[in-house]
Subunit: 148 residues, 2 copies
DNA sequence: TTAATCTTTAGAGTTTACTCTAAGTCAAGC
DNA sequence: GCTTGACTTAGAGTAAACTCTAAAGATTAA
């Protein structure tokens, strides 16, 4: 299966504009063109796009992703660099997941808070609900009390 | 405990510039100033900053965060709006965590791949290691084969 | 009191990642 | 063959979130 730029874009939930931009930035050196100059994306190219997407979502900038692509083009002498990059990336992703779980706790707290507030028609929650007041201390107090 | 803009910034891992920018954008209407015009951040203000940080990290734009702050300023008649916002946000955070876990799987696969490649000094991994080849199908194949 | 450091404002500049336009070329269906 | 829609390039424009500058005023420590 081969894809035009439009089909590839659709599959990846991007626009053709974006794929051309990535190409211009040197992220897609592997994509071939027809004699008429039109890009053709192979299945393998789609796997590259999946990895580029993954690296982008985990916080790498396009120029850092380009660095990785460049290493891939340079051959086996860069294998260790690539391995190290992914090891670093693993740490970052794990940190991001932990951070997101903490954010989820804060959001859950706010939902509990506003459910209580809506029930009473007022923001005056902590006086009625000691449990929420304690939770608040745990989630917000630590940052504002400790550390200094 | 009260904080100058510089101290507040340090505590939140931001710069004073950024906090002034947030203020200019209407995100910090609660921050008071001294008679000489200098901002004073209270403990409560720091909690606001923690929530702003949380909303920012979970993907809200500053103008959407401002919307929330505005609702807070408007009083109890916006309680339900705020509750709904956090409920939506909860969904988004849960999706982000799931996405990150998928990204982690991809990164872990790449680490396994490159560890194998480094061991053999070559990128020619799938021929030697069928297990990795299958994993690759599971992680990348589904996106490139299904859906169309 | 005086130097060093912090804070103030308005406003200009930067970075990143798109996003769009124009003018033209190519491919598929009728 | 013709139309329609997708593709090409170079390059301009945009949005978001800072980031920095300059010039002046405030605060702190010796």
């Amino acid at each position: 299966m081969r894809y035009s730029i439009g089909q590839a874009a659709k599959k990846m939930n991007l626009t053709a504009h974006t794929l051309r931009y990535y190409d211009k930035e040197g992220l897609l050196p592997f994509v071939q063109k027809t004699s008429a100059g039109q890009r053709v994306f192979t299945e393998q190219d789609m796997e590259w796009l999946v990895i580029i997407e993954c690296l982008k979502e985990t916080g790498l900038q396009l120029k850092e992703i380009k660095q990785y692509i460049d290493w891939c083009q340079q051959g086996d002498c860069t294998l260790e660099k690539r391995l190290n990059m992914f090891k670093q990336q693993k740490k970052k992703v794990e940190e991001q997941i932990m951070k997101m779980q903490k954010n989820l706790e804060k959001v859950n707290f706010k939902i509990a808070y506003y459910e209580e507030a809506v029930k009473n028609g007022s923001v005056d929650v902590y006086k009625r609900n000691k449990c929420l007041a304690e939770q608040k201390e745990r989630l917000f107090g630590n940052l504002t009390e400790s550390g200094k």
